[in-house]
Amino acid sequence: MTRSPLNRAVRGIFLLLVALFFAIPLYSMLDFSTRDIANPGHRTGYAWSLLVKDKDLFASILTSVSLSVLTVLLMFVLLVPTMIWVQLRVPKAKRLIEFICLLPLAIPALVIVVGIRNVMLWVNYFVGHTPFALSLPYVVLLLPYAYRSLDSALSAMNANTLAEAARSLGASWLTVFTRIIAPNIRAGMVSAAFIGIALVLGEYTFSSLLHYDTLPTQIVVMSKAEARTSVAASFAMIVVVSALLLGLSFFTRDRSTTEGT
């Protein structure tokens, strides 16, 4: 289709303005976090160096990274066997599991926080008041995203046929799970892990209201004394999370092209 030069110019300008709206806050973060207050007009990496040098901040980075890995592992332990089992043995339960997994999209996280105090008191009683206790409610937040990734991977393979073949050759259910199904849904598991880590790293609703110290809460606490470091940490987080999510989009695209849908 041919388009008039005016039409093309209007489109180009519109896209450029939108791109500017999205680029300005990101560029501002770089500008803000490298300002040298003592020598106006000069740049300094001081605020960025605090990411490693500030004990509290560095500890919160380690906490959030470990917490995200722990959450993703828990999510796998809970969801992968359940979904494989549903696929192979109780397909009738598929709609129920799907409904439950997508439910957290319809219930605001804030609502869960308001109602979860007693549950968390009970969790704290067993594991102590540590940020790692958050991994349990975080698994619920990840359910919709993890379910979609794993479900598309499971539906793309011939799980039932492969499982039946393995079973008839004498494989145990454990062998079927670990050596037949799991290797085939690895791409789905990787994308579920990516989005899981990205979400947990930035989660603020649970951690702030239930008073656990994670990277996002530490960024807010620090902003009162050293705003530049808070901005630097936020920018670093954006880079990491974007890398994870972009990686995710590559994984999903590769799969969709091979599926040929």
């Binding site: 896209l15 500008d31 219930i107 308001v114 979860i116 960024i219």
Partner: protein, 291 residues
């Protein structure tokens, strides 16, 4: 190992194969259903432990009404801006070839930006439009007072920050509907003598309307339920419902604070549920043509 024959027999009901689902069901019961039910029941609980709908009268208080109004304004404004701008972006890239660089970049970047929010997004806007933000300072040098009376921390500012994730979300959810618009329909219309204007008014827009409205509702629910971004942006005060909940939830001293927090949480659940139900209904209407 005879239990494996149960599969496919259909008539015989056996609980055995469902047992492995128990850990999952127990987990979501404790960490999803119990908290949600706690909120719903707690909203009707009196201080003495009895039940009454009297606590719901808090919804009519000045603070709750003002916060709900703020939330509705922010959600509607950010949803409409997001839907219009995001819809236009989606339309422009939908006319580009599917494998073109522009299209792939916009889709990938939208996927990332739609997940943005929370503390990092709040600080991104503070670094640009805050008191000593880059844009604020740059304009101040030219004699323009962008910061003003702190609009960034009130409804207009919250709306602006929310559009940052609403526009990309719109691109993602609306693009499939645009892709469903077949070029053959346009060719058919043109062959029958329709002008571009007629094609859009009588074929394109009516087809897209359910998908557009549905996406707008999804955006509305998305910002209505958002908490982290606005909590990191606005330190105190309660211009929107989630922040009023924070105030009530965090103040143990305030009598009835816990109950009122649950009443507001219930209000949020109801609003989001109604909007999502409408969304699902519109989605079904869309699927008839554009899927």
């Amino acid at each position: 190992m005879t239990s494996s024959t149960a599969k496919g027999s259909g008539r015989r009901f056996s609980v055995g194969p469902s047992l492995p689902l128990l850990p999952f069901l127990a987990f979501v019961t404790v960490f999803l259903f119990v908290p949600t039910v706690t909120v719903i029941i707690g909203a009707f609980q009196t201080a003495e432990g009895g039940f009454s709908a009297g606590s719901l009268s808090y919804l009519g208080s000045a603070a709750a009404v003002a916060a709900l109004k703020g939330s509705l304004i922010v959600s509607a404004a950010s949803a409409i801006i997001g839907a219009v701008v995001g819809g236009l972006v989606a339309y422009i890239i939908s006319t580009a070839p599917p494998r073109s660089l522009l299209r792939r970049v916009v889709v990938s970047v939208s996927g990332v930006l739609a997940q943005f929010g929370g503390v990092t997004l709040a600080f991104a806007f503070l670094a640009s439009y805050g008191f000593s933000g880059m844009v604020t300072l740059a304009l101040a040098n030219r004699g323009v007072d962008l910061y003003g009376d702190g609009w960034l921390f009130r409804l207009p500012g919250i709306t602006l920050v929310y559009t940052y994730f609403q526009i990309p979300l719109m691109v993602i959810v609306f693009l499939p509907a645009l892709e469903g618009l077949r070029p053959q329909w346009r060719e058919a219309a043109v062959n029958l003598g329709a002008t571009t204007r007629q094609y859009w008014l009588e074929v394109g827009l009516p087809l897209l309307r359910p998908a557009f409205l549905g996406s707008t509702l999804l955006l509305f629910a998305n910002s209505f339920a958002a908490y982290a971004t606005v909590a990191a942006l606005v330190g105190q005060g309660a211009p929107v419902t989630p922040l009023l909940i924070r105030q009530l939830f965090s103040s143990e001293v305030l009598l009835g604070g816990a109950v009122n927090a649950k009443v507001l949480a219930l209000e949020m659940v109801v609003v989001v549920a109604v909007v999502m139900a409408l969304y699902a209904w519109l989605l079904r209407r869309t699927s008839r043509w554009l899927r």
